[in-house]
Amino acid sequence: MKNTAATRSNQLRMIWIIFRKEVIDNFRDRRTLNTILGATILVPLLLFSFLWFAEKTIKDETDSISAEAIQLAVVGAEHAPNLMNWLEQSNFAINDAPKDYEQAVRDGEERMILKITEDYPKRFATGETAPLLLIHDSSIVGLEKIGYQSLQRAIYTYGNRISSLRLQARGVSPKVIHSIQLNVSDVAPSELRNTQVLTMMPYLIIIFIMLGGMYLAIDTTAGERENGSLETLLIQPASRKSIVLAKLLATMLFSALTLFFVLLSLAFSFKFLPIESFEITLSATKIAVILMINLPFVFLGCSLMVFLASFTKSYKEAQSYLSLMAIVPSMPLILLSFLSPEPSLSNMWIPSLSQGLIVIETLKGEHIDLALILLSMVSSALVALLFVFMTIKLYERERILG
């Protein structure tokens, strides 16, 4: 080491030369460009179909409640003519129930059956509690469930009205039994209501960070070895450290580019997708913040992929391992959908989970403690450095060519 400054500038020059070659080389690779292009097109499509489906479900619900009469089979309808009138006004079509009505519900022939017992008229007339039996199958979900819920609401309302009438008949104000009136007011800002879309965002971001870097991580390591040019490269007067860093930087560039295009595409989709129920905006500032706080994860994801790909024997092998690896970082994110934790010291050191939390909070327009953001960035970067160190060690061994 005659002159450390000269050595360092020489190393930087080597990194730049190798980095530039890998970038040019891979910009000419259709697979790399397809990933970026695919991400840009796929993201709005995914988002659109997801939102469209969500909106359609809500619309169908409303339609099925208001428009069409809900079919209701009743046993002993003759015992409760007033209730039947009420139900018909509440948009139910009353039918006769089949003989074996329990089996009919079990077999799915009838959605639900209301049974009015024989002592109902007597008890109703004498002001006692009159029993009704509702038979349904709770394993049925989705739109079918709506009829059951409307029927319950209709019967409760009917019961309440009868109770009120009875109290009034006895000279008591119905308010006596309504001791509490619960009024609900939703103060959540409009951005908070789109939680479903929000919890999708971290997945999209993390997965496309991995996908964006995957081809380069493979092509520059396992690919170069399979191509038979790695040995020649290692003979050049460049340190193994420079070679690894250059390849990692090129991988990170493509990963970050993919992320950037995904964010741009999201911003446009949020703005222009014809979905009414949805009000998230992604401003230039938010894009910059999300890009910035995800850079340590770009570093981590890419160093992990470069490390793994350097171990594999061939392009194919690397591809199958890394495709699996792309899913691993999205696993901590599952916690986000189930627990929806708040950013704190106990979770902000976890790579991918912490980035996911910051993404969600940023999209919500909420403030996060700078210290927590730094914790997320530093911890991810430290793990990344560990992988970089191990990759350099691997490249300094003979078996890198074997």
Partner: protein, 243 residues
């Protein structure tokens, strides 16, 4: 100048190189001749710094190829076995990349590449992307990138592998020109005729050991055989791997 002193290298139980010594001088073509698996490539790999010897020394112009690998890397040009080139880059870009890694830039690098284009007869494809190149064209690109920095020492591992007759003739001319220009050329081959035709010095290797060493005439005399091929067979002690 390349010197190899008592070089040993084993992979697990296999003694790939077992006490090999020889010298390859400047201005001469030295050939490592031996059947497949004799230890030629392993010896070359230790010389061009990618393998560490178990014991012994590999010196290039007096520098230890393991301990002073960076210095050695600047003074060698290597055509590795089955060398691959970057298919999405043009031939020129391939050569340029390695020139830059050796510190060449701008006009100087361009002139050097044009020189190589002339010598290796690459005008037709120099600015084409390398995907779909013939084996001969690929080898020329790989050879050009090995020579771009005018290395004092040139190491070629089975350079005529996969080349047709015309390409082989072209390559021979290039190697002879390197010799005339005073380079130290060390090449390996399992093809006896090729080595006999080109080399000033022949080192015959079998089972990781040097079994004969000298000029083609020396080797013929040594084994009392008029025919070099018979001498070779006698030297390695079997016909194994001659194919």
């Amino acid at each position: 100048m390349i010197e190899v002193h008592n070089l040993k290298k084993h992979f697990k139980a296999v003694k790939a190189v077992d006490d090999i010594s020889f010298v390859a001088e400047d201005g001469k073509i030295t050939g490592l001749l031996g059947p497949n698996g004799a230890g030629k490539s392993t010896t070359l790999k230790m010389l061009y710094t990618v393998l560490e010897p178990d014991s012994g020394k590999a010196l290039i112009d007096g520098f230890d190829s393991h301990k002073e690998s960076m210095t050695v890397q600047s003074s060698i040009g290597v055509l590795t076995h089955n060398a691959g080139i970057y298919e999405r880059l043009t031939a020129r870009e391939n050569i340029c990349y390695f020139g830059e890694l050796h510190g060449l830039t701008g006009e100087h690098l361009n002139n050097r590449i044009n020189e190589l284009v002339d010598v290796l007869d690459m005008e037709k494809f120099i600015d084409r992307r390398c995907k779909g190149f013939s084996q001969g064209q690929k080898t020329k690109v790989a050879l050009a990138r090995a020579l771009v920095h005018k290395p004092k020492n040139v190491l070629l591992d089975e350079p005529t592998n996969g080349l047709d007759v015309m390409a082989t003739r072209g390559l021979r001319e290039v190697i002879l020109r390197l010799k005339e220009a005073g380079h130290c050329v060390l090449l390996s081959s399992h093809i006896m005729q090729e080595v006999a035709f080109l080399c000033d010095e022949i080192v015959i290797i079998a089972n990781g050991k040097v079994v004969a060493n000298g000029s083609p005439d020396d080797i013929r005399n040594l084994s009392n055989e008029d025919n070099l091929e018979d001498a070779f067979v006698k030297a390695i002690g079997s016909e194994e791997g001659l194919g």
